[in-house]
Symmetry: D2
Subunit: 144 residues, 4 copies
Amino acid sequence: MTVSHDSLRTFPVVIEIPVQWGEMDAYGHVNNTVFFRFFESARIAFLERCGFLRSYDEVQIGAILHSTSCRFRLPLLYPDTVLVGARAEAIDFDRFVMEYRVFSTAQNAVAADGEGTVVSFDYRNRSKAELPQMVREGLDALKR
Amino acid sequence: MTVSHDSLRTFPVVIEIPVQWGEMDAYGHVNNTVFFRFFESARIAFLERCGFLRSYDEVQIGAILHSTSCRFRLPLLYPDTVLVGARAEAIDFDRFVMEYRVFSTAQNAVAADGEGTVVSFDYRNRSKAELPQMVREGLDALKR
Amino acid sequence: MTVSHDSLRTFPVVIEIPVQWGEMDAYGHVNNTVFFRFFESARIAFLERCGFLRSYDEVQIGAILHSTSCRFRLPLLYPDTVLVGARAEAIDFDRFVMEYRVFSTAQNAVAADGEGTVVSFDYRNRSKAELPQMVREGLDALKR
Amino acid sequence: MTVSHDSLRTFPVVIEIPVQWGEMDAYGHVNNTVFFRFFESARIAFLERCGFLRSYDEVQIGAILHSTSCRFRLPLLYPDTVLVGARAEAIDFDRFVMEYRVFSTAQNAVAADGEGTVVSFDYRNRSKAELPQMVREGLDALKR
């Protein structure tokens, strides 16, 4: 599933998703909400890789999406297959910023860039929490 | 929320949903998958009314969607508000058939009819189950 | 994109779609509406292969979805990749029935079967139409 | 459709949307992509009110979504009805910023705030364009 491309060289996690015809809206372009579905799929893949899904399973400290944004660069059309990259930046004691990039293989160009702030949350105490050690190590490993 | 209209006279549960612009696809009509979202929303409202959501909470006997279908009659467009009716037919010992109707208020016409077979399932024993007594009574009450 | 599997042997068009995490609903299973998105994606691929998209472009005779249904066999979960097959049956002078099959590679089993009736429509005259000759030939070629 | 609430007092356009059960994801909360559907529906309502849909019809100068963001404040659950407000800020010669607010009536609280930059685009010349005069006047009228 992990595919490499120069625009995505700095993204340790890259997933591949075929565009569905039904994701286009009445303007004949992939609807803006679909880009956030792409981001989400890349985020879930990243959270698995950095240990945050395991952290939730083992100690109920998981990740919450605090905010997210998208800068649309090119309209996407069916048929196409996008590569969606995710990486962590600005790692703080209780949060980090995910950066996303959507690359259109049909157009051989970046279609969108995005961000999402992910906050560590202790589901047992219902409160914010520091990033678990296993997540810190996972983030480090993905940096290298 | 419950609205009445002659085409929906025989539907004891009717919900009202505004069509969203983004539900239209590249043909400029509301995408076919959205009709099944409409059906689902009416089904959930019906399952609450007939006691099936309470049955799940109290004795873990809930409803599973076995199959579903839709007959499209008119294309839907934004702006519009649909009324979606649901009723139970063919009530058997462990299942019943939900019938749905989507009515376009903008076109003053039926846009689609559908069905879904709902099966009773015991989530503790992981097996099919008879319809709980509270659901039978709920279905009776909605018939009257 | 075309993948082969024994359960899909009789389907001339098969597409591959990764399940997205966000397609699961509050029950933790892929939502029922997503199966109709899968069907649609297979239908579009089939309509392209049998010449119906070209027929629309050249003589404005296209395909309309008259009705559709799904029989759910297994709940789908993330992560998974589904193969979705499409074939034409019951070919009549102005319509045919598409049959669909959703195969879960994670579970190595059929997750759903479905149908959709596709009707030929003349967009210039706004009326039903016979299947264009190029579509008949395309359907024949896909049968072999 | 236009509803008023104190948190939305400064939003000249407010739409009302019932939350659908199927919009919740596997975490049991309304999925993050749905907030962008809410924003889109409010944006379309706003663009109609300020004359941008008419401008597109008459002179093919329409609005393009350049970028968008959301700050999630509270998880949304079914059943609920949200009010979604939209207003224009930072009006420049060829663009403005839409601000959105999602208000949960079930929780009587703001569930999310968002933004979107809307750019004027001349579809005949395929180039950026100044905001049409009718849009400027529409924006003024909505400010008052």
